[in-house]
């Protein structure tokens, strides 16, 4: 550590260059991770807020709640751990003709999802023309008692409450009554027709064995959300490539720095300085450079988090960002191993005779 610290102190420009590289890579990894996390959360925030484990859908729905219709018979007997859920895409329009793509979720007010909705402002839905909507609509100028028109109809719907983090597939969620969902889907409220899109359950062992219905885990539903898996895979690949790039950059920089020092190291070896001391100096140098770079990248990310508008779907999760930082550190230490062989094999005889 002594040699590493002294070298960094003396060779400020060279060390600074390496640190700047690591800061930029670290910053990019942190921002991409936060963006991936933010988008993933906006895809699944609503589903996660329901506290469900299993979902029973129509077997022909391709594991998509919006495409599923389940009859009362198929839903079977519901316990207090199950609830009906009707989901459909809507386009909402206000008096100013401002259009918003959203997801309408119809609920039975006595079942657990509706009961457990955490209203941040206003009250729960009490009638067929009332909506509780995601709080992000406030940023678009909507307030309590604002009126919305869904799917081009002339029926006015009133916003009676707001909930936080009600997003599904990045679209804001409008919670309403199950009968409203039926109306939006053009399904009659009487007879043996569809009752809901799905039956959701808090019970991890729930399994609907009715004909024409299949039960899925929450994660299976999330993975089949349109674009969700492709988007996450893209981010994971980008982050993985950045990690590999950081490994190569650190390895190349350290290799060049180490090659320049080999004649000095040969003298030290001739003087009896153990190879492990020189190897330790190389690893310490890598450690110090990467830690400095990652910390500076972290500070830059924190600054970005403060300045970033709330509309940007980013989520700064400290434990996950720390994991990314540790990953970068591991890559840096692996990069230093490339130079280690040269350090350990330095031949002190070469310094004799000139």
């Amino acid at each position: 550590m002594f040699l590493a610290l002294k070298e960094i102190k003396k060779e400020k420009f060279r060390s600074g260059l390496v640190i700047v590289m690591i800061v930029l890579i670290g910053y990019l990894i942190f921002i991409l991770t936060s963006l991936a996390l933010g988008l993933a959360r906006e895809n699944t925030a609503a589903i996660n807020s329901w506290g469900i484990n299993k979902v029973a859908l129509n077997v022909n729905s391709n594991v998509d709640m919006r495409q599923s219709l389940v009859t009362k018979k198929q839903a079977g007997q519901l316990t207090d751990k199950e609830a009906y859920l009707g989901e459909t895409s809507v386009v909402a329009k206000n008096a100013a003709k401002k259009k918003i793509s959203a997801v309408f979720v119809g609920l039975e007010e006595k079942q657990f999802i509706a009961r457990n909705l955490k209203i941040s402002q206003g009250h729960k839905v009490n009638g067929p023309h009332e909506l509780v909507v995601d709080s992000s609509l406030k940023d678009k100028g909507f307030k309590l008692n604002s009126t919305l028109y869904l799917n081009g109809s002339t029926t006015p719907y009133k916003i009676v409450g707001f909930v936080e983090n009600a997003k599904l597939n990045i679209a804001p969620v409008f919670y309403g009554q199950l009968d409203t969902w039926k109306a939006l889907r053009g399904i009659g409220t009487q007879g043996a027709g569809p009752t809901a899109s799905a039956v959701v359950s808090k019970n991890a062992k729930y399994d609907n064995d009715q004909t024409g219905v299949q039960t899925y885990t929450k994660q299976q539903i999330i993975n089949k959300l349109p674009g969700y898996t492709a988007q996450n895979s893209t981010f994971v690949m980008m982050i993985a490539f950045l990690m590999v790039i950081s490994l190569v950059i650190i390895a190349v920089f350290l290799y060049i720095l180490t090659m320049q020092k080999l004649p000095n190291y040969a003298v030290l070896r001739a003087q009896g300085i153990p190879g492990k001391v020189l190897a330790g100096a190389t690893i310490s140098q890598s450690f110090l450079l990467v830690v400095s770079g990652v910390l500076a990248g972290g500070l830059l990310t924190a600054l970005t988090a403060v300045l970033m508008p709330v509309t940007v779907p980013m989520s700064f999760d400290v434990p996950i960002l720390v994991s990314a930082g540790v990953g970068l550190l591991v890559m840096g230490l692996l990069g230093s191993l490339v130079s280690l062989k040269s350090v350990l094999n330095v031949d002190p005889v070469k310094v004799i005779g000139g």
Binding site: F2, K6, A266, V267, G353
Partner: protein, 224 residues
């Protein structure tokens, strides 16, 4: 008992038809308090001899004994330790670590070898003797070649070794500087009771030697 004794050392490089004998039945000994100068032209085997004395090469045959310890029978780690404890190298290209100040060059050695080094007072005296006390905060790049050489000598003395091995210490120096370095090495041997061995092709140093050897085509002969 000599501080360093070399008996019947042969050394070969290569194998088969490329096999080449660099040293032939070398016998050599040096005692504390003396300056031995081994001179010879380029390609005479000087560097091989120095590398074997310093424990950097294992001779093909023969024995190397430093303070009664058989160097040639030791493993790498033991030899590293013995070099650190018993031998101070002063190399032609001083190659002081460029990012350590003069003071840090000593601090680094102290971190690797916390015990057995000269005391701070002794080190101050060595620095004063070498005329480099005022250079402690300087980096090697800020020193002249002569100053770097004296720092390298101080660094070699810091571990309080029994032997100082100097490789071409007067290469590229003018006659007045050669005289200065010769006097310095002679004084080091006497004042600090070291066996100082200088390997050189510079005949201007032979006047300072207590023992003078000549090496040619791998054969060592004592001249004085």
């Amino acid at each position: 008992m000599s501080t360093i004794a070399i008996k019947d050392v042969d050394h070969f490089y290569g194998t088969g038809s490329a096999k080449f004998q660099a040293l032939h039945a070398i016998n050599f000994a040096a005692d504390a308090g003396t300056l031995s100068v081994i001179s010879g032209p380029s390609g005479s085997g000087k560097s091989t001899f120095l590398a074997i004395m310093g424990g950097l090469l294992t001779p093909t045959s023969g024995t190397v004994t430093v303070n009664d310890k058989r160097y040639d029978q030791m493993g790498q780690k033991q030899r590293d330790a013995l070099r650190l404890d018993e031998i101070g190298f002063v190399l032609q290209s001083y190659k002081l670590l460029p990012y350590l100040t003069v003071a840090d060059q000593f601090k680094f050695v102290k971190k690797v070898r916390p015990k057995g080094n000269v005391s701070p007072a002794e080190n101050d005296e060595i620095l004063a003797t070498l005329g480099i006390s005022s250079l402690l905060d300087k980096y090697p790049g800020e020193l002249s070649g002569g100053q770097q050489q004296r720092v390298a000598i101080a660094r070699a003395l810091y571990t309080n070794p029994a032997i100082i091995l100097a490789d071409e210490p007067t290469a590229a120096l003018d006659s007045s500087r050669v005289k200065e370095v010769g006097t310095l090495l002679k004084n080091l041997a006497v004042k600090y009771n070291k066996a100082v061995i200088v390997v050189t092709h510079d005949l201007r140093l032979i006047g300072f030697a207590d023992h003078l050897y000549e090496i040619e085509d791998g054969h060592l002969t004592q001249k004085q």
